[in-house]
């Protein structure tokens, strides 16, 4: 069954990609991802040569803090969400495939989409503004690409697991991002250890030092914490899927 499970991953992954694409929300997400690019054009047009300002004002405040969680929450909850809601998840589960393979496939699909959109956004906007500004700018771009990568997989893992436990995963995810990572983080610095945004910024620090004091974690703290998060959520998701129950309905 192991070989069959592994072989099933690309198959399910493909279906997941097709499910996530091709709807109104993809267009909206493309528009959202274009916002940092738009701002980059503004910066370029103004011939402002402020790497740090762009990095913290756009790449961080708009990209990592807004764009990344929103894209991730949409894809992460949709990976299983739609199927659980209309019952088609049965077609995935009534197969001789290990449950972890299903989780891996969904994770890859949703993370891939999230990472693609966010990294492309950072890359393009960085290319427009930061690249001409020399090594500092290039390092900043690299830093935020890394931040988006780490953030994508962390957020998607978290929201995927949430969607297996509740049908209101999207709203709960939003509350997490806005309240926990937004408001509370500024009030209680200890929360930085449990904040995906801090993991992302911490990893970014490995490539480029942020001048603002937004990032509270060093790379050597952030990366292991992120890995732990992904592994733990993966196990929880697999466990939950093995115990997945479909109620009897109205019979």
């Amino acid at each position: 069954m192991f070989a069959r499970s592994v072989a099933a991953i690309p198959e399910i992954g493909q279906i997941t990609l097709r499910q996530l694409l091709g709807r109104r929300r993809t267009i909206l997400l493309l528009l959202l991802s274009a916002v940092p690019v738009l701002l980059a054009v503004v910066f370029w047009a103004a011939r402002v040569a402020d790497v740090s300002g762009f990095a913290s004002g756009v790449l961080d405040a708009v990209g990592v803090t807004l764009l990344l969680p929103i894209v991730a929450v949409l894809f992460g909850t949709a990976a299983f969400g739609a199927e659980i809601e209309d019952g088609t998840v049965i077609y995935l589960l009534a197969k001789p495939i290990s449950r972890w393979a299903v989780v891996v496939a969904k994770l890859i699909g949703a993370t891939g989409m999230t990472a693609f959109l966010t990294i492309a956004s950072v890359f393009v906007s960085g290319a427009i503004v930061l690249a001409p500004l020399g090594e500092d700018g290039a390092a900043a771009t690299r830093a935020f690409v890394a931040a988006m990568a780490v953030g994508s997989i962390c957020y998607v893992s978290l929201f995927l697991v949430l969607s297996l436990f509740t049908r209101r995963a999207l709203l709960i995810g939003l509350v997490y991002v806005l309240v926990w990572e937004g408001a509370l983080s500024s009030l209680l610095p200890g929360i930085a250890n449990l904040s995906i945004r801090q993991y992302s910024l911490g990893v970014a620090n490995a490539f480029w030092q942020m001048k603002s004091n937004e990032a509270h974690l060093s790379p050597s703290t952030a990366l292991p914490l992120a890995v732990i998060l992904v592994v733990v959520t993966f196990f929880i998701a697999t466990w939950r899927l093995t115990r997945f129950e479909l109620p009897g309905g109205t019979d």
Binding site: E11, I15, R18, Q19, I90, P96, F244, E245, P247
Partner: protein
């Protein structure tokens, strides 16, 4: 709500169980039960099934879908055991190689074509010749013309057939279908019934739920009747009818002289009511077998010719009616 006073709930109810065949039964439940808090959806159900078609009947809310989901491994029994091919489906995903499931909810990935959907199922089942098997399955359900169109454009009956194709592409030993004839027109229904019959003849175990009795009657005679979560009866429905001794059988007779025949029949203690209608004689008797011997002799001695003798309520409908009303 039917007030259910259960017949002796012993596991080996004195009903005729379908013969399991030479090997061990493919589906076996022992005292299976499932409850949600205070609500008991399935209550102490035991049966075993072998090759052939069995209909799962019951009014709405009887627990049919719950039972099917337990068999499919999507609900863990709160008590008792559920064994499919000797393994527990909720704990061992490898058993799905032998199970095909057609659930009731009709949605299926609407952006996939029929062929892609069946092939997706085939590939996940680990079939090497997924393409070929998919085409074959599609052909068996009769969707060849539509197989390259997205399922979102299908009619309800076509979607049902696509689901069935996806469920049998890997040639499973067991097929579980929840209200499979929903939304099909009569021709499609007959085609599906033929298909199920063929598979049963080939040794597959098929269990389908329905509350349309004509469908069940046409596909086969083995039934399981669930009422309010309990198994009310199992086996051949005609044999079940014979066991319903506290309800008199009704026989309608057309003869050359109804009144004379009625008088002759009334003399016998096996008969306890006759009714003369227009050109028809209705007889109520407690013992069908005794009556069968009786009618020949009675008509001969009365000098009456018999044109038609019909057991009026041996239909599944009356059996069901009786079981549900108990």
């Amino acid at each position: 709500m039917t007030a259910q006073i259960a017949p002796d709930p012993a596991p080996d109810q004195n009903a005729v169980a379908p013969s399991p065949g030479p090997s061990a039964p493919t589906i076996e439940l022992v005292d299976a039960a499932r409850w949600y808090g205070n609500v008991v959806a399935v209550n102490d159900v035991s049966f075993s099934l072998g090759p052939g078609v069995t209909g799962l009947l019951g009014p709405n809310g009887a627990g049919k879908t719950t039972l099917l989901h337990m068999l499919a491994g999507f609900l863990v029994p709160s008590a008792g055991t559920v064994l499919v091919m000797g393994r527990s489906p909720s704990r061992d995903p490898s058993v799905y190689r032998q199970i095909g499931l057609v659930p009731e909810r009709e949605s299926v990935y609407p952006f996939l074509t029929g062929f892609e959907y069946v092939r997706f199922n085939a590939r996940l089942q680990g079939l090497h010749n997924a393409d070929l098997a998919s085409r074959d399955a599609i052909h068996r359900v009769g969707l060849d013309d539509a197989m390259d169109r997205p399922i979102g454009t299908y009619s309800k009956g076509m979607r049902q057939r696509a689901k069935v194709a996806g469920a049998l592409v890997h040639d499973p030993q067991i097929l579980l279908l929840d209200e499979p004839f929903n939304g099909m027109d009569p021709r499609q229904r007959m085609a599906m019934m033929d298909l199920l019959g063929q598979m049963a003849a080939a040794g597959r175990t098929i269990l389908f739920s329905s509350h349309i009795l004509e469908e069940v009657e046409r596909v086969g005679t083995e039934i399981l009747v669930m009422v309010a979560g309990r198994l009310a009866a199992s086996g051949d429905y005609r044999a079940i009818r014979a066991l319903m001794t506290d309800r008199p059988h009704m026989i309608t007779i057309r003869s050359s002289d109804d009144r004379r025949l009625a008088t002759a029949l009334m003399a016998d203690p096996a008969v306890f009511a006759v009714e003369l209608g227009k050109d028809l004689l209705s007889v109520r008797t407690a013992h069908l077998s005794t009556f069968r011997r009786l009618i020949a002799g009675a008509s001969r001695s009365a000098g009456v010719r018999l044109f038609e003798v019909v057991s009026a309520d041996e239909s599944l409908e009356s059996v069901f009616d009786y079981l549900v009303r108990r």
